[in-house]
């Protein structure tokens, strides 16, 4: 993998795990750490373990780093399951001057290389699947295919109806503000498990409300320039044509904090250094984060990331 980036002139970088602030996201909970200035009895300085290296790497891009990549640990509180460990390994990279479509081609090349040239060899069927051209399927198309509902145009009532059909208990009456919540449930219960079988698949053209740090492309309807890579129903990577607008970014963070407050979660500090960097002007770029534990898990024919972690959280 390092050779892959070296051959393409992408520079390896290293950024801090202990940060003053990170992404503000309704559903992403950083692990807080209390440091003390001037020794253990000094005043507390609250820091957070990075949920991803995104902000730091974008600050490097603003500084003129050119294309960069990093393999690092990331920490997310409360995430534990067959495909989750609160501490995990991310491969993240950025391509100045590229859009997300061009980056998807590179992700495809990398994944194909990893599965076809894996040490000891990935399982034969996985090699065969990865050798085929990856599918590119729009978010809307994937929902229509799996459920017959249009995530952009169907009413929340229709979406809730589809959810009931999938054994999702409606916890309350359908509300328009909850559209993303319902879509998310449908994605988990019915759509994801049809993605990336036979060959890997990119899910793309997300609803603008799920753009996170992606640009929104005007159109009818407008779509977020975001993609996720799926192999056999498992999400491996998430990428964006990166948002450059500092005001829009700040508005999204404020909005996320609003939702956190409403959900009874602690608000998170805004990353002022990151926003400052955006104001200075980040080059147009595309970036992607990949869950390396899951990639490795598939490459060795495992079924849980515990298969490739030395000591999962319960034994760490």
């Amino acid at each position: 993998m390092r050779r892959f980036f070296e051959d393409r002139g992408v520079l390896e970088v290293e950024t801090p795990l202990l940060c003053e602030a990170g992404a503000v996201d309704e559903h992403l909970d950083p692990v807080p750490v209390d440091l003390h200035s001037g020794g253990p009895l000094g005043p507390v300085r609250r820091r957070y373990l990075a949920t991803s290296p995104e902000h730091s790497m974008k600050r490097l891009l603003v500084g003129g780093s050119g294309p960069i990549y990093q393999v690092t640990r990331a920490f997310r509180d409360g995430e534990r399951g067959r495909l989750h460990n609160p501490e995990f390994t991310i491969l993240e990279w950025y391509r100045p001057g590229w859009d997300h479509l061009r980056l998807m081609d590179e992700v495809e090349e990398l994944i194909r290389g990893v599965f076809l040239e894996a040490e000891g060899g990935a399982p034969e069927d996985l090699r065969r699947e990865a050798a085929r051209p990856f599918e590119r399927v729009a978010y809307r198309e994937a929902f229509l295919r799996a459920l017959g509902v249009d995530p952009f145009r169907s009413t929340v009532g229709d979406l809730t109806q589809a959810a009931r059909g999938q054994g999702i208990a409606a916890s309350s009456a359908p509300r328009e503000e909850d559209r993303d919540g319902i879509l998310n449930l449908l994605l988990a219960a019915a759509v994801e498990k049809q993605l990336g079988y036979g060959r890997p698949a990119f899910l793309m053209d997300y609803p603008p409300s799920q753009a996170a740090l992606a640009r929104v492309k005007e159109g009818e309807p407008p779509v977020a320039e975001r993609f996720e890579l799926y192999v056999r129903g498992i999400e491996l990577a998430n990428g964006y044509h990166e948002l450059l607008d500092p005001l829009e970014q700040e508005r999204r963070f404020a909005d996320a904090n609003e939702k956190r407050r409403a959900a009874g979660k602690a608000e998170l500090p805004m990353d002022r250094r990151f926003l400052e960097a955006l104001r200075a002007g980040m080059p147009s770029c595309a970036g992607v984060a990949m869950g390396l534990d899951r990639v490795l898990m598939l490459a060795v024919g495992g079924s849980s990331i515990d298969d490739v972690l030395t000591f999962p959280i319960d034994r760490a």
Partner: protein, 190 residues
């Protein structure tokens, strides 16, 4: 009523859905995209045995089902109800044929079973994986045929019918697998 939060989900929980008791067979933490965490669960209906898939959002609650287990001893049946006794308290319980499911095929006087109670009423029993029963009827053993691959039907004292090797006779005690209905071995020759 007691409830379970999604963070308490694990296989083995007994929960109440639409007023019926379910056993959580499997649960999986998922976090699609950048969205809220969800829990996909697989649940078995303790009354009917069917399995359903349910998905819950992080923070959702489900009611706990008042389900308990008790070890009981089989007494007798009147072909509508099967009667059992708690060997410690001598209290008797009846279980309808419907709730017995297939278990009625394997019970004989004195057999110890695990009974499941829902709202203090017995709703079903688990028989041991292997039981030993007397053969009450089968064709006579073919003389000299000791091959184990030739099978013939035999009726057991509990009423179950299983395929047994040709050398088995009426009165033999055989061990059978209650899940697969398969003959395992002869325990005692009559």
């Amino acid at each position: 009523m007691a409830t379970y939060n999604t963070s308490e989900f694990k296989a083995g929980l007994k929960v109440l859905i639409d007023n019926e008791p379910y056993l959580m067979v499997d649960t999986e933490f998922m976090k699609p995209g950048k969205g809220q965490a969800v829990y996909r669960t697989r649940l078995r209906n303790l009354l009917r045995g069917n399995v359903i898939d349910r998905t819950y959002r992080s923070g959702d609650k489900i009611d706990a089902a008042d389900v308990a287990e008790m070890t009981l001893q089989y007494l007798y049946n009147d072909s509508k109800n099967w009667f059992f006794m708690n060997p410690d308290t001598y209290e008797q319980y009846s279980i309808s044929k419907e709730n017995m499911g297939e278990a009625y095929l394997w019970v004989k006087d004195g057999l110890t079973v695990e009974a499941t109670f829902f709202n203090d009423k017995p709703i079903g029993i688990d028989v041991p994986k292997h039981v030993e029963l007397v053969v009450s009827y089968c064709e006579p053993a073919a003389r000299g045929n000791t091959a184990t691959n030739v099978r013939k039907p035999a009726t057991l004292e509990s009423g179950a019918e299983v395929q047994v090797p040709a050398f088995i006779n009426v009165g033999d005690i055989v061990r059978v697998d209650t899940r697969t209905h398969e003959y395992i071995e002869r325990v005692t020759k009559s």
